[in-house]
């Protein structure tokens, strides 16, 4: 119906990262459903999610899908896209020309920061640069001085690996090898062989937990090449511990999360809806949809520029901190002219040109489970 506000959920449902997309979409849709159910959104409007497939590997198809969402279905905002390539294409090709706000839960490319976006674009995945430095600190803190490094061969992996290697070497550590791996490939023996030969006290795997990253870890464990792994955000997921159990005990890593245990709450909340909240970027999916809708509510219009301006306000202090499942409360506060600071499941904090600058949770694997050991 015409009264409903539509939100496009544009993710790579098919293609190389297809296994990551459903939980992210689930997260986004959960937030949308929550807002819609509150009955107070923009004076009682319903909110509807419409999915689109950005495929990750076909910018043209992603653009076409976005075009259909925006000009055909008339969505008021976009959650997506998933990979940086599709995100950039959709932003320049569709969102900007049509003045629609776009929040990506997962695009990490630093290049997106400088892309002209008229302020319409936000992303919630944390900047690679910050995580790289932090990871170097954590490793150094454990007294590990020499690591082998492998990264998934895309902008996320490459960016993280480069920033980490620079920071780690600056701090006096050695990166014995800095090798890429492709996701979704059949075999990682060659990578494992090279990594093992280069040696090091630990293996840093800047990849995805159900993609090549897991494949490399599998190979390294099987052949006994490494038994200590460092796991950045893409790897911290229950999929990993389910798969390897206590074989990974002692391995450690970090991922963006809120001190307020938003993460735990959100996972529980999503689990009720049958969604794996621990999956990579699923929390960011929820948060993306949430900030988009809260911004819209605050702006009182679906006009992109106004929404975009409001998003920064709702996401950052000052204001009442809002956790997962508290969207109705947030709408209420905003309606009453109050201020909120959306924290959500991934500790949302927008810095610079619409980027996330959240805090990180340090974890270690014990008894086959991730255990929180601190915050940074």
């Amino acid at each position: 119906d015409d009264h409903a506000v539509k939100i496009g959920v544009l993710l790579g449902f098919t293609g190389p990262l297809e296994s990551l997309a459903p939980p992210i979409a689930g997260g986004a849709e959960a937030a949308i459903a929550e807002v819609s159910a509150s009955g107070t959104f923009m004076g009682g409007k319903e909110v509807m999610a419409i999915r689109g497939d950005s495929t990750c590997v076909d910018s043209a198809a992603a653009t076409a899908a976005a075009e259909r969402l925006v000009t055909g279905d008339g969505v008021a905002g976009i959650v997506g896209a998933m990979c940086s390539g599709a995100t950039g294409a959709v932003l320049t090709g569709v969102s900007m020309p049509n003045g629609v706000a776009q929040v990506s839960p997962s695009a990490t490319s630093p290049a997106l920061s400088t892309l002209e976006d008229n302020g319409l674009f936000f992303r919630l995945a944390p900047s690679d640069a910050r995580q790289g430095e932090l990871m170097a600190d954590i490793i150094m803190g454990k007294g590990v001085k020499s690591v082998a490094l492998t990264y998934t061969n895309n902008d996320y992996g490459k960016g993280l690996a480069d920033s980490f290697a620079a920071a780690f070497e600056a701090a006096g550590g050695t990166v014995t090898i800095n090798a890429a791996h492709e996701d979704g490939k059949a075999d990682y023996s060659a990578e494992v062989g090279a990594l093992a030969s280069a040696g090091g006290d630990a293996l840093v795997v800047a990849g995805y937990s159900d993609q090549g990253g897991a494949g490399v870890i599998q190979g390294a464990l099987d052949s006994g090449a490494f038994d200590l792994f460092v796991l950045p955000d893409g790897m911290v997921s229950d999929a990993l511990t389910e798969k390897f159990g206590s074989d990974l005990d002692g391995s450690f890593g970090q991922h963006p999360a809120s001190k307020t245990d938003g993460a735990g709450k959100l996972e529980a909340l999503l689990a009720d809806a049958g969604i794996d909240g621990a999956s990579v970027y699923a929390k960011e999916g929820y948060d993306s949809a949430a900030v988009l809708l809260l911004g819209m509510h605050k702006a009182g219009t679906t006009d992109g520029a106004a929404v975009a301006a409001a998003i920064t306000e709702v996401a950052n202090a000052p204001g009442e901190p809002i956790g997962p499942g508290e969207l109705a409360k947030a709408l209420e506060i905003l309606s009453n002219g109050g201020d909120i600071d959306y924290v959500g499941g991934s500790d949302v904090e927008l810095v610079g040109p619409g980027e996330s600058g959240g805090s990180f949770r340090e974890v270690v694997i014990e008894g086959g489970e991730f255990k929180e050991v601190g915050f940074h």
Partner: protein, 336 residues
């Protein structure tokens, strides 16, 4: 001692993984080569059909596991394999009836079959994801290792470990058996020969009283067996995720072609060429060199010919070089 260490390191990181991966590719390539050799087209649906076969086996495995059936220390999946094969064979025969038979009737060019197989690939792709989803599935059980790296170190006192996985062992043994049986079947049995005759000259096969539909059906049944075995073993060794099966298509085709299309022995050789070139050329020889060379000569770099970024590129370069010297593959394949 150092020499032994070097040897073990080499085996652990190069030889064993490459042999196991090579056998996996070989099993896949056998199916491709068989279809090419007898039905005369490159089957693009091979990877996704492999995922289908493995999926059916997984479903049976789960069922057996839930009933407590097991053949410990071997994985339960082996028990489920025959059922997977039967279901896959039925599916393939159904596909042939609904899709390919028509093109045989109208004597379409091979490229039309190839395109039709792409259609089948898309459909199979949807079916698999529809039934089991796009994510990782776990179904492996039984003893994971024949030799564990740590145990090996303890037992031998060497500083290098050697790991040998059950799945690797099964894959290698199966590959050998399957090739031998297939080779015997095609070259020695009447049915096998009639299949080759059919592929050689369809009209003349007809005149010799060979029933083409039967040949086609047997081919699909064998392919179903090969596909399901390959898919399941691959899933046991690595992981089951539909997308990686699609990605396997490329190295599988490369193997079949470098070995000589249509030639079963070639498929085996091709699988190993691809696997070994991927693993050895990008291997950092430092580890081995450290053991073998005197300390003064110890390498400072990784002694790596190429970085692993170029792993695929390297295996394709080798493939192209092989083709330039042997234009129809290592073992004389068919050319169209």
């Amino acid at each position: 001692m150092d020499f032994l260490n070097a040897l073990v390191a080499l085996s652990n990181f190069v030889l064993i993984p490459a042999i196991a991966y090579g056998s996996q590719l070989a099993l896949g390539a056998l199916g491709v080569t068989l279809i090419y050799g007898i039905l005369r087209f490159s089957n693009f649906a091979h990877g996704d059909t492999m995922a289908f076969g493995a999926m059916v086996t997984i479903l049976f495995t789960w069922w057996f596991q839930s009933m407590g059936l097991s053949i410990h220390p071997l994985p339960t999946a082996l028990l489920a394999l025959p059922f997977g094969i039967v279901v896959t064979a039925m599916l393939l025969i159904l596909t042939d009836r609904t899709v390919y038979r028509f093109y045989r009737r109208v004597k379409a060019k091979p490229i039309v079959f190839v395109m039709a197989s792409m259609g089948v690939m898309f459909i199979m792709n949807g079916v698999v994801r529809f039934i089991i989803g796009p994510g990782d599935q776990r179904f492996a059980d039984g003893e994971r290792f024949i030799i564990k790296a740590r145990d090996f170190k303890n037992a031998t006192g060497l500083s290098e470990g050697l790991a040998f996985k059950t799945s690797q062992g099964i894959t290698i043994v199966t590959a050998i058996i399957v090739v031998a049986v297939l080779f015997w079947f095609l070259n020695r049995t009447r049915t096998g020969k009639s299949m080759r005759a059919f592929s050689d000259n369809e009209d003349l096969a007809l005149l010799s009283g060979i029933n083409p539909e039967r040949v086609v059906m047997i081919t699909w049944i064998i392919v179903a067996a090969l596909i399901t075995i390959a898919g399941t073993l691959y899933g046991l060794d690595k992981t089951f995720k539909p997308f990686t099966y699609f990605q396997l298509l490329l190295p599988i085709f490369a193997s079949a072609i470098v070995g000589g299309l249509g030639n079963p022995l070639g498929a085996i050789a091709g699988g190993f060429v691809i696997a070994f070139s991927e693993v050895t050329i990008t291997y950092a020889w430092k580890k081995v060199a450290v053991y073998l060379l005197p300390e003064s000569l110890e390498p400072t770099g990784l002694v790596q010919l190429m970085s692993t970024d170029y792993k695929f590129a390297v295996s394709f370069v080798i493939l192209i070089v092989v083709l330039l010297f042997k234009p129809t593959g290592l073992f004389k394949g068919q050319s169209v």
